[in-house]
């Protein structure tokens, strides 16, 4: 019995130490990345390539997700509130939900799945095939050449994707409100514009920027620290998507509480 208890304590202690050490490593990685983002030279061509990859190629998936979310939201809100002044209520709920929460969170999750996984897999493959070692021996700093452009691009693209996603989401709500629920278009647009608040846009953009940092940092961290060949690449990819998603959902609450709590 005592042996079991000691073993349990030993295993738990070891896991806790590993956990704390990993967090420490992550923050060292974070600080290092910031240092290499600020320091020249900047690889503008690589930043542009990443902007196209993260921003442009994520547009279809973000657009589709937010468009259908806006449509569902309008339909469900109407079903729940059809007794009372539904035109303004539907417009207001669609607008607020999309701008404050659904737009940033759905965009964040979609980008984590699409780009986060790609970043982690790409860097992890480079790590296990010694391409990162080769970079160092060729006089290039991997943090500056590989990681920094991805972080910069994510910081630029994800807020823009959220703004576009928000607009498409509101449009989705508008399409349902006008063509299915037969609302008056000018009344609906008027109600939407009336409830549009600058603070909501700022809050959504702040969230998007935070998600951009989370997705790119977490994915690059797991990719950069991958080991054990193909298994390591798989682990890095899965971990980056799961941890980014959990962090997105946790941080969205924290940011909402800071703005409106």
């Amino acid at each position: 019995m005592l042996d079991f208890f000691l073993n349990f304590l030993g295993t738990t202690g070891k896991k806790f130490i590993t956990f704390v050490s990993n967090i420490g490593h992550f923050f060292i990685f974070f600080a290092n990345t910031i240092y290499w983002i600020i320091r020249p030279p900047w690889y503008f061509k690589r930043i542009l390539q990443q902007i196209i990859d993260i921003g442009y190629f994520s547009l279809p998936v973000v657009g589709l997700t937010t468009f259908f979310s806006g449509m569902v939201l309008a339909l469900q809100t109407y079903n729940g509130f059809n007794e009372i002044n539904s035109e303004t209520t539907v417009a207001r709920i669609v607008l607020t939900s999309i701008i404050r929460e659904l737009g940033p969170v759905l965009t964040g999750l979609m980008v984590a799945g699409r780009i986060g996984a790609k970043m982690a897999a790409e860097i992890a493959t480079m790590k296990v095939t010694e391409q990162i070692d080769a970079l160092e021996t060729l006089g290039t700093r991997p943090m500056q050449y590989l990681i920094a452009p991805k972080i910069i691009a994510a910081l630029i693209c994800i807020p823009l994707l959220v703004l576009i996603g928000n607009t498409i989401g509101i449009l989705g709500g508008y399409v349902i409100a006008i063509y299915k629920l037969n609302f008056n278009p000018s009344m609906y647009i008027y109600a939407t514009m009336e409830y549009l608040q600058l603070i909501d846009i700022i809050q959504g953009t702040v969230k998007a920027a935070v998600f951009g940092i989370i997705i790119s940092m977490v994915s690059c961290y797991f990719g950069f620290n991958a080991t054990k060949g193909a298994e390591g690449v798989g682990f890095a990819t899965t971990s980056s998507v799961v941890i980014s998603s959990v962090m997105i959902l946790t941080s969205t609450y924290v940011i909402t509480a800071l703005f409106f709590g």
Binding site: Q131, T137, G139
Partner: protein, 258 residues
């Protein structure tokens, strides 16, 4: 009496030890690479050959000992100076380590393109001048590494290593995973590359035919230490059990062809 000219020491490894989580991989390794010399490091898989190479080029830090390249102490040297010294080294990795996202010509000129601005036309011309010597066709320049064969990838990796004319070349298992014909071709290319730049080379391998073709001196790493060293000719007279085992692996075709 004719006085023998002393050759310059290019790489000096003294008392180097390395372990990972209490697992000792290298223990008190000592050897020197002289100017113009081609040294082969042999040993079984997992004997620590690649770990030794990574210690030499600074990708790993030895637990103890000293590594000098051209009289510069590499262990604990600041990163900037280490990078400067590394620029005079040409290195190929076990699996080629070509950059997947770059075309063949971009891979080859990667190092020099970091130092100076080179446009596409100039870059391709530089790459072309190198690959012609290595028996590669110009039409591969615009392909990505995944679009060429394993043998070609190894040759492109050699081209990348010799681009910029470094004086020290380090090859990690350049013929592993290749058929004997391509392996023999790669060996010839390595010899050609070393003589082309007039430098010194270290080749890590467990291919004994390759050792006989390219090395002036051989060291065997076994049980974490250097258990034998000598010339390829001396290997055949050696009574060292491991050396004997390695010699038995040489294909009879090697003697017929060479």
């Amino acid at each position: 009496m004719e006085k023998k000219l002393e050759k310059k020491i290019i790489i000096k490894v003294s008392e180097v030890s390395k372990s990972f989580n209490n697992n000792v991989v290298l223990k008190d390794i000592n050897f020197q690479l002289l100017e113009g010399e081609s040294l082969a490091i042999i040993g079984e898989s997992g004997s620590g050959k690649s770990v030794l190479l990574k210690n030499i080029i600074g990708l790993l830090l030895p637990d103890k000992g000293s590594i000098q390249i051209n009289d510069n102490e590499m262990v604990h040297l600041n990163k900037k100076l280490k990078e400067k010294i590394l620029l005079d080294l040409g290195i190929t990795f076990q699996h080629g380590a070509l950059f997947d996202s770059l075309k063949v010509w971009e891979n080859i000129i990667f190092k020099i393109a970091n130092k100076e601005k080179i446009n596409t036309k100039q870059g391709k011309q530089i790459a072309l001048s190198i690959i012609e010597d290595l028996g590669l066709q110009p039409n591969i320049l615009d392909l990505y590494p995944s679009e060429i064969s394993g043998g070609m990838q190894k040759r492109v990796a050699i081209a990348r290593a010799i681009c910029g004319n470094p004086k020290i070349l380090l090859f990690d298992e350049p013929t592993s995973g290749l058929d004997p014909v391509t392996g023999s071709l790669i060996d010839k290319l390595i010899k050609k590359a070393v003589s082309r730049i007039g430098g010194s080379a270290i080749t890590i391998t467990h291919d004994m035919a390759s050792v006989c073709r390219i090395a002036d001196k051989v060291i065997l790493i076994d049980k974490q230490t250097i258990s034998w060293s000598g010339t390829p000719k001396q290997m055949f007279d050696s009574e060292n059990e491991k050396i004997q085992k390695f010699i038995k692996t040489i294909n009879s075709d090697f003697f017929l062809n060479d």
